[in-house]
């Protein structure tokens, strides 16, 4: 083994990562080469120096208490918000669905938007304006979208309060 190969393997040798054959070859080279021995000593002493003098932080119980109080804040906030927001979401969804299905104003608005979109896309006039099934589908779709937006907003709000 030459010095270059030996030097390349010295870190792994220090970590005991080499297989037995390579370890034997490196040891044999080290026994005969003063320069590589000096390099090994230097590498070992660098590692030791870093490990000995790297500052080590030890946290006491106040860290656990502070962390758990933040965790508690999140939990209580979540517990308080969840039923209120949940009920509000269901009610909002039901009201909007009912309005879209039964209110002529909301349905006209929907019909007008549909017409604009269809005209822009050059698909012709919306001819299904009086189909009750489409009214229901539109209502449910809009309510679902609203529900998703509100749930996302709630999640963001809870996370913000927690952090």
């Amino acid at each position: 083994m030459d010095c270059k190969t030996c030097t390349d393997l010295l870190w792994e040798h220090l970590d005991n990562e080499l297989d037995s054959d390579l370890t034997r070859q490196v040891d044999k080279h080290l026994a005969a080469c003063q320069i590589c021995r000096a390099e090994l000593t230097a590498l070992a002493s660098t590692t030791r120096f870093l490990k000995d003098h790297m500052p080590v932080l030890i946290l006491d119980n106040s860290f656990v208490q502070a962390t758990m109080s933040k965790v508690g804040l999140d939990e209580s906030t979540g517990a308080f918000l969840k039923p209120i927001i949940g009920i509000s979401l269901v009610l909002t969804g039901l009201i909007i669905t009912a309005l879209i299905i039964f209110s002529p104003i909301f349905f006209s608005l929907l019909w007008l938007m549909g017409n604009i979109i269809f005209t822009l896309l050059r698909l012709g006039t919306l001819v299904v304006k009086t189909t009750p099934l489409l009214q229901i589908i539109s209502g449910v779709t809009l309510s679902t979208l609203l529900f998703i937006v509100l749930v996302s907003m709630r999640r963001l709000a809870v996370r913000r309060i927690a952090s």
Binding site: F49, F63, T67, K70, R159
Partner: protein, 184 residues
């Protein structure tokens, strides 16, 4: 890496079901590991403590999504490393903090001369780490300081084994270059 005993595994499983007391045991168990990983990456004790707290909070909020107790520590380290990297990048864009303020408080029972010497050595180590790239530093901290195996580091950082090895090797060579003249 801390060994996962049967008791610890049970505690993690309890925490996964939302048991707050079990989670507080995990905070107690892993706090020093986590804060020292953060400190190794960011090099500032106050930032490290903030990161550790944020990491535990994030872990608490999403522990229900964890599929196995065995993956808890690796997952927690991953959260910590990501937060630490973000913090380090933010810090590098702002004002440079003096190394003195980065160090943890010393033990008041120690002799002042010893404390002064120890602080000098610690500043030397932190200054050397500052000269590594963020990638080299992160891998070095996990391997050398936290003694995680190569494959574990690869999984935490989502990088191949060969990249882990080459980054560790580059970090060590650079540290040897930086520190060798100082100690002679």
């Amino acid at each position: 890496m801390p060994a996962l005993t049967e008791e610890l595994s049970t505690t993690i499983q309890q925490a996964m079901t939302g048991d707050k007391l079990a989670f507080s045991k995990l905070v107690w168990r892993y706090k020093d590991h986590i804060v020292n990983i953060a400190f190794g990456v960011v090099g500032n004790s106050q930032d490290a403590e903030d990161i550790a707290q944020e990491a535990f909070l994030k872990a608490y909020l999403s522990i229900g999504r964890l599929t196995s107790a065995n993956a808890f520590y690796r997952w927690l380290v991953k959260i910590t490393v990501n937060l630490s990297i973000d913090k380090k990048i933010t810090n590098s864009l702002g004002r440079v903090q003096p190394l003195e303020s980065s160090l943890p408080l010393s033990n008041p029972a120690q002799l002042p001369e010893l404390v002064a010497e120890q602080k000098e050595q610690q500043k030397l180590v932190l200054a050397a780490l500052e000269q590594l790239t963020l990638e080299q530093r992160t891998v070095w901290v996990l391997y050398e300081f936290q003694e995680l195996p190569y494959n574990e580091i690869g999984q935490i950082l989502n990088i191949p084994l060969g990249t882990v090895k080459s980054r560790i090797s580059a970090a060590r060579s650079r540290l040897r270059e930086i520190l060798a003249p100082e100690r002679l």
